[in-house]
């Protein structure tokens, strides 16, 4: 893997009038060229701060960021502006120029970059085709829907041929269908232009949809980082577990004793498996959580089951599931509530 972004021990402290907030606490992170890296965490975890440090819109209090091995903290303001032309950004609220039409919005970064007007317009038109808005070139942002505005913002972000695209909650203001469409557009951009994408979100679904890697941020610290497959299948930290299970450990699972988590990958369709297991063992199970998706006829996702108290039936069920090549994990830390898990954060 060739590293394109390297964060080195980045801390950021905001000093207010009578308090200070440590938004980032010594975060180190390497993002590979061509990755789609999701940054996920609770509100206030420091996600926006982290991404704003990647183009030095926010200067870290300590530590630094390298973009293609250029240390941003060592650059002059002019050099920094040059790097920013290679690191585009899109936002939750689109941030388009309301007094300019769509075409001129897309031309704006090229104006900044000193591209000739005629060339800029030509490229802007091509980009509007990429995002499927060629017929809206003369419209003004106020005449567009949220999804269309984000498409304009994406076209604008691509104008200067960036190597990296930063997305801060780019889909949070959109409905689920539009969110999907925008995510797929980002995926297409990643594939076709080889642009590395960093995408902030607080929804695991977004990560599952398009990301190759995921960083989990918890109270300013990097709790976990790895490929989506890996983090999803074996979350180690409590923060990761909370996000993957989408449940507060102290709540629903507190009472339950024998819980297992099943991860579905390529080879199984979950409904018959569970139904068949119940039939074969003649004992009911509780489904505490089912979060699965059918992708091309194959189940992907996870399920948390509460097995019967009776040891023998429980063992039989575990055996049944493992025999079917499912990944089954017993969840000891969930039996006694959340406390036991706290130590491994």
């Amino acid at each position: 893997m060739e590293t394109i972004i390297r964060m080195q021990d980045v801390s950021k402290t905001f000093i207010g009038r009578d308090d200070q907030v440590e938004a980032l606490k010594g975060v180190s992170l390497e993002i590979g060229r061509g990755d789609i890296c999701g940054i996920i965490g609770m509100s206030g975890a420091g996600k926006s701060t982290l991404v704003r440090c990647l183009n030095f819109l926010e200067k870290p209090t300590s530590g630094t960021v390298f973009i293609e091995e250029r240390d941003l903290s060592s650059l002059s303001p002019a050099q920094l502006r040059q790097v920013r032309r290679e690191v585009a950004m899109i936002f939750q609220h689109f941030n388009l120029l309301m007094q300019r039409n769509v075409l001129d919005n897309v031309c704006f970064p090229m104006e900044i970059n000193g591209v000739k007007k005629a060339d800029a317009r030509k490229r802007a038109k091509e980009l509007l085709e990429v995002v499927g808005l060629q017929d809206k070139a003369k419209s003004y942002p106020s005449q567009l829907s949220g999804g269309q505005k984000q498409r304009v913002a994406i076209a604008r972000a691509l104008a200067n041929n960036p190597k990296i695209l930063l997305c801060d909650e780019a889909t949070s203001a959109l409905d689920p269908t539009t969110t999907k469409a925008i995510l797929h557009l980002l995926q297409k951009i990643n594939r076709e232009f080889g642009i590395t994408i960093v995408i902030i979100t607080h929804e695991m679904a977004v990560v599952q949809e398009i990301c190759s890697h995921v960083a989990i941020l918890n109270e300013g610290e990097l709790a976990e980082y790895g490929s989506v497959e890996e983090v999803f299948a074996h979350p180690k930290s409590l923060a990761a577990k909370k996000l993957v299970f989408r449940i507060e450990p102290k709540e629903a699972l507190m009472e339950s004793r024998r819980c297992v988590r099943i991860v579905f990958r390529e080879n199984s369709s979950f409904e018959p498996v569970i139904a068949n297991m119940v039939l074969a063992c003649r004992t009911p199970v509780n489904i505490l959580l089912a979060d699965t998706k059918d992708i091309g006829g194959v189940a992907h996702g996870q399920m948390i089951l509460q097995l019967p108290d009776d040891e023998a039936s429980a063992a039989r069920m575990l055996h049944y599931l493992r025999e079917r090549k499912l990944e089954v994990e017993e969840l000891p830390s969930y039996m006694g509530g959340g406390e036991a898990g706290e130590s491994d954060v």
């Binding site: 819109l57 690191v87 950004m89 941030n95 300019r100 704006f108 900044i112 003004y140 106020s142």
Partner: protein
């Protein structure tokens, strides 16, 4: 009651009054923007949340603007007599009044510009920064361009206010409609002339307001 108005020279005087009032208002407002626009921009840029926070510069500008705005206009005119002599060659008459009006209106204009620019969505400014835009590009192409409509509305307010001040300046020999209203209405009890003069002032203010509203509606792209 309106017999005074039938005299040709009175009509001519009123027409000249309108021209002089417009002359003073337009030039003073123009020069007030020449001074006030950069100050307004500087206030926004150097403020704590601005693009180049400069505590000391901001404080100095902020206080200077407040001080000049607090001085009553008539006092300011008297204080400025030496400056008016220097620039216009005399201490009365329309051109001298422009000097006083400009200085009185500049801090007001600076505040109008400041508040218009503060209305610009910080997210859009941040987007421009993330594209690698420099300070001047952001001021010119983002802040002023996005605040265009609010700036026009502000300019309309400024014109109306300066017109009112110019009438007040008439009281101490400034010329224009205010001068006529005071000379004929107040000193000579020719109420008809005073009423017509005031009506003309109202019409001018209305006209400016109408023009400003029309222009801002026509240019606004936010629908």
């Amino acid at each position: 009651m309106f017999e005074n108005l039938m005299q040709g020279q009175i009509l001519q005087m009123l027409a000249e009054g309108v021209v002089v009032t417009l002359y003073m208002t337009l030039f003073s407002t123009f020069f007030a923007y020449v001074l006030g626009l950069p100050i307004g921009i500087a206030l926004v840029v150097t403020s704590e949340k601005g693009l180049r926070p400069q505590k000391v510069v901001y404080k100095i500008l902020d206080i200077a603007v407040n001080v000049v705005r607090s001085v009553p206009f008539l006092i300011l005119m008297i204080l400025l007599i030496p400056l008016m002599r220097l620039i216009a060659g005399k201490s009365y008459g329309p051109t001298a009044t422009i000097v006083a009006l400009t200085l009185a209106a500049a801090p007001f204009v600076a505040r109008l510009v400041e508040s218009s620019l503060l209305e610009v969505d910080p997210g859009v400014v941040e987007a421009a920064q993330s594209m690698g835009a420099g300070l001047w590009t952001i001021i010119w192409k983002v802040m002023l361009a996005e605040a265009k409509i609010s700036l026009i509305v502000g300019a309309t307010i400024a014109l109306g206010t300066v017109l009112g001040y110019s009438a007040m300046a008439g009281a101490i020999g400034g010329g224009g409609l205010g001068d006529i209203a005071i000379r004929y209405g107040y000193y000579r009890y020719q109420e008809d002339i005073m009423i017509v003069t005031v009506a003309l002032l109202i019409l001018l203010v209305q006209g400016i307001q109408w023009l400003g509203t029309w222009l801002s509606k026509k240019l606004d792209r936010r629908v």
